[in-house]
Symmetry: C2
Subunit: 336 residues, 2 copies
DNA sequence: CTGAAAGCGCTTACAG
DNA sequence: CTGAAAGCGCTTACAG
């Protein structure tokens, strides 16, 4: 009973009284077809509801017109923004974007990567991953185009798209110093080794130095990227001999934890203590006071990644690996 | 230069000194192969990095071992939970799950749906959509299996998975009445026509009636599913002659708006006014006080949907259309 | 225990 | 302006 209904190119050819060659050409538009013939074929296609079988076409053309986004956590809004951006440009070029999830660590990443290359997707955008060099090389060995997020060009094959984290953090601190006149500015980071904490910290230091301020080493705390981490870090920094006027937090969750502590201690934000987040997750604008933060342009990153892929796929771009760096945007709200 | 590296089954066959038939059988395991031969072939496969071309296999077998989830808004955490749930069960059966986005309205939905059937995905899970009957029929006409979310069985082809919204709302109100002793319980809904507002409202009424309370018509407000809507609705209901002791909000954003108003008026939550949300978005637990709400089991719904698909695909299930209804879970936090 | 060959549904040189 | 036929890379009856 299944598949009975599926109409194929031969069906429309015979219904229209032409060869499959001609039907194929009216579909692809790659060859002139007499207007009358074309009209007849198009009519039959419509009537029969014919749809080309992408599986057969793909086998023949070695192209699937499909782009894949692979991310560690499909639940992360940043990743879904990226997907939306890719979809936007891909669809305009007749490509479909599919998104897949594979855990950050373990063999499942290789597994899913292979599932994707086996299906012959034309290009893969790989989120922030600890993918091994071997995994990456295996992808490009199949001829599949690759764009990576976040890491440097030199670390592997494929083009790279990343956000300018250091500059984003710099802007934030500059806002604190210039617009709010803060001079004692603390920093609460996640684990020091884990990106993008390091870059954000670098931007924080840079901005302070640029403003002729020194980095207050007693006001730097490393915890982790959670609300609880924010509570711990803020509690510690607020008991410094000379307490901070502002707290730069390495992500929004940490900032929300810092907000908790400020509330518990009766500190008015931003009057007594300015607090900034990072990432602009949904909760950043829903919390009270709303968080001043930095927005990671996920959508633009998705667009850029899709363009990079499409240039190699469609325009025959065969040049050297490229890196696209996107600026992050300050979102000034109530907390600073 | 492209594709040069791609090794095919014929390459491993000749390298191993056997026929492609045999190579195929060691891969699929569908026929006995002499241990020595098998070992030799497996060794060559590993050495050459051979990977079957899913495009060719799909053409031959009429199967792609791929499931698709199509959602209106890939950015919605509920949808991404569904994806994660599908992925979980699909992967265990050797299927890959891909998620695609298509806008709620307009021709793009049909377009993407056709892209998916053209690629011969084996099954599609369709999120809450205003898909036309025509779109749905076109999917099943190609033999692609379909699972829909939220709507009733009778409204179209395919199996259905949905959450028990009415029961979820009932549980919530019961909690308010029993555990907190509220008697004047208001309701702030989104637009009355838009699901799942109606079902949640029905559950609210039902619970009140069950508790021997009457539905306070002066304490029901319809606005929209936003924080701003929550502000408007709460402001109106709080100026009733006999103000409410609790506000049941049709989603979390509305509840966050209600929280704003309570704060502005110096009302302590939940002491002076209990407030409940719905959906349990991330912000629900990040806001202060944390929201008591109802959790929509997106992950379980994804699992259920994938199982339904797999039963038809793998177990030859050809029976009547089925509907799976999942319970929602009360998440009691601070706001009520 | 293994192989030769047909065929899945297309596209595209090649030919007229 | 159009068609006959080869071939994309597999799987699977059929045969031995």
């Amino acid at each position: 009973m299944r598949n009975t209904g599926r109409v194929k190119i031969i069906d429309v050819a015979s219904a229209a009284g032409v060869s499959v060659t001609t039907v194929s050409h009216v579909i692809t538009g790659r060859r002139q077809v007499a207007p009358a013939t074309r009209a007849r074929v198009e009519d039959v296609i419509r009537r029969l509801g014919y749809q080309v079988d992408a599986t057969a076409r793909g086998l023949r053309t070695q192209r699937t017109t499909t782009l894949a986004l692979l991310v560690p956590d499909i639940t992360n809004p940043f990743n879904t923004e990226v997907a939306a951006g890719m979809q936007e440009v891909a669809l305009a070029h007749g490509y479909l974007t599919v998104v897949c999830e594979a855990p950050m660590n373990g063999p499942l990443l290789s597994e899913v990567l292979q599932q994707l290359t086996a299906r012959r997707v034309d290009g893969i955008v790989l989120g922030r991953y600890g993918a091994t060099r071997r995994d990456l090389d295996r992808v490009t060995a199949t001829g599949t185009r690759l764009v990576r997020f976040g890491r440097r060009l030199s670390e592997g094959p494929g083009d790279v798209v990343r956000a300018d984290e250091t500059e984003g953090a710099r802007t934030l601190v500059e806002h604190l110093v210039r617009s709010r006149g803060c001079r004692r500015v603390g920093f609460i980071g996640g684990a020091p080794g884990i990106e993008p904490g390091g870059e954000r910290y670098a931007g924080y230091r840079q901005a302070l130095l640029d403003a002729g301020l020194e980095v207050p080493e007693d006001l730097v705390a490393w915890t982790d990227f959670t609300r609880e981490g924010g509570r711990t870090g803020a509690a510690r920094l607020l008991s410094a001999d000379v307490p901070p006027q502002a707290l730069v937090c390495a992500n929004d969750l940490i900032a929300i934890g810092a907000l908790d502590i400020a509330r518990e201690r009766g500190l008015r934000v931003p009057h007594d203590l300015a607090i900034t987040g990072y990432d602009d997750i949904d909760a950043a604008s829903l919390v009270s006071p709303a968080l001043t933060t930095v927005f990671n342009p996920g959508r633009d990153m998705g667009r850029a990644a899709a363009r990079l892929l499409l240039e190699r796929l469609e325009d025959g771009e065969e040049g050297a690996a490229r890196e696209v760096i996107l600026a992050q945007r300050l979102v000034a709200r109530e907390s600073a």
